[in-house]
């Protein structure tokens, strides 16, 4: 059930930015829901498991987009690593702190996409990259108060609850 629900959340994260959030964008900026979901997964798993979720989610997104395979795979793995590393130092039940964490992790991820895009030969101005990095970081952070309490509760006590093997 847990894996089915996570797969459903992955699909939603792929579909919603291009459909529903197309109408709720801020000057062309949409949230990166897949990145948000990977951050949540990394926050509620151990470091290695979180990174594996990041790699898997990134690969699915790359294949769905059908171009620049590896860009999101690498980015989401790094985002998961960073989120997991921060979550070991920051208190996970502190929602404002988690909002800041999501902002930082999303901004880092978008910055990495910006650099990889430049490496791939795409012509982006520094100003637009900064707008996207900050914009998507803020948009993802704004979604935290709306989504994190539910997701966190589900990861702790509900259907998404993660049980390491030694607990089973």
């Amino acid at each position: 059930m847990r894996y089915l629900l996570i797969a459903f959340l992955f699909l939603l994260s792929l579909i919603l930015p291009g459909t529903v959030f197309y109408f709720w964008d801020w000057s062309g900026i949409k949230p990166d829901l897949m990145m948000l979901l990977v951050i949540y997964l990394a926050l509620h798993h151990r470091l290695l498991t979180g990174v594996i979720w990041g790699l898997g989610a990134g690969l699915v997104q790359d294949l769905y987009l059908g171009r620049y395979i590896g860009m999101y795979t690498l980015t989401l793995a790094v985002v998961a690593l960073f989120s997991s590393w921060l979550s070991q130092r920051w208190y996970r039940d502190n929602f404002p702190l988690m909002t800041l964490l999501v902002f930082l992790a999303s901004a880092l991820g978008q910055l990495l996409i910006g650099f990889l895009s430049l490496a791939a030969g795409l012509a982006w101005s520094g100003q637009d990259i900064i707008r996207l990095v900050l914009g998507i970081g803020i948009y993802n952070a704004v979604l935290v108060p709306l989504t994190y309490p539910w997701i966190h509760r589900s990861f702790m006590y509900g259907w998404l609850r993660y049980r390491p093997k030694y607990e089973q």
Binding site: L11, G18, S27, Y64, I69, A119, L122
Partner: protein
């Protein structure tokens, strides 16, 4: 005793990982034709849901537009009334000028229903998804290889050029808009006397932002080129992708380069990309 960390090993691993990703990104860029069965299956499976969500969102936005932007709608209403009055006057004037057989006038009228658009084999398609990320200006349509759509097929709307197909699944196709920085079009400017000046139109990131469709096309010209504000920009057919004479936009502004050797024409697209819902994929007869 703690575990020893092999820093060199980790550095080598990270280096090769990065190298691998960069090579993969290079090999699978736009226009590449690498096989992607998983991505195709995902697109096929999700496209009905995406189509429903997009049309639902569009309906909600359109029906509640007056509530969210009351002031803007009021202003738009006022502007439209003034425009109707102006156009009524213009219409009378145009009829007289058409009768006089002015060539430029005929061209200018052609913008709104270019006869060149009618001579291609076209497949009508509905937009089912916009770019899921903010990094590209793309859209997904509900036609694919089973409808005869191929990579690099041009995409047009009623008023003019939209872009080209960059990836295809059996039931969907991704379209790169001409607004994207990667979506260059070989074009020509038709002056008031009908003479052509050739160049490349590309999505711009130097003026305004690539994130908005306002003033998002530009064309580099030589200082001596005889082009003026209001001139019509059409595809030239020289690039091998887009057919000739598809309207792209109208020149809105011309700026001289600081070196004095070149000038940049900023082009207003004829197609309103934000409200686009249906397009035609040109599948033959280019």
């Amino acid at each position: 005793m703690g575990k020893r960390v092999n820093a060199t090993g980790i550095a080598v691993l990270v280096f090769f990982l990065l190298l691998g990703v960069l090579i993969s990104i290079r090999l699978t860029g736009l226009d590449s034709r690498f096989p992607n069965p998983i991505g195709g299956a995902l697109q096929r499976a999700l496209s009905p849901v995406e189509k429903t969500l997009l049309s639902l969102g569009s309906a909600i936005k359109n029906n509640t537009r007056a509530l969210w932007s009351f002031h803007a709608v009021e202003q738009e209403n006022q502007a439209l009334r003034e425009k109707v009055e102006q156009l009524t006057g213009d219409n009378l004037k145009l009829k007289q000028e058409v009768l006089a057989g002015l060539r430029f006038q005929a061209l200018d009228e052609g913008v709104f229903r270019s006869p060149d658009l009618d001579k291609f084999n076209k497949v009508g398609a509905t937009i089912i998804n916009r770019s899921p990320t903010s990094w590209y200006q793309t859209l997904t349509v509900n036609r694919g290889s089973t409808d005869g759509v191929k990579i690099n097929d041009p995409v047009v709307a009623n008023l003019g050029l939209v872009g080209k197909v960059v990836s295809v699944t059996p039931t969907t196709a991704d379209v790169l808009l001409i607004l994207d920085g990667e979506g260059q079009v070989s074009a020509m400017v038709r002056g008031s006397a009908g003479e052509a000046t050739f160049g490349i139109v590309q999505g711009t990131y130097k003026r305004g932002s690539r994130l908005s469709s306002d003033g998002n096309l530009q064309m580099m010209l030589r200082r001596d080129d005889n082009v003026n504000v209001g001139d019509l920009v059409l595809s030239s057919g020289l690039g091998g992708v887009y057919p000739k004479n598809i309207p792209v936009g109208k020149i809105k502004e011309i700026q001289l380069d600081p070196t004095g050797l070149l000038k940049t024409a900023f082009i207003e697209p004829l197609v309103n990309f934000d409200s686009l819902e249906e397009v035609y994929l040109v599948t033959g007869g280019k």
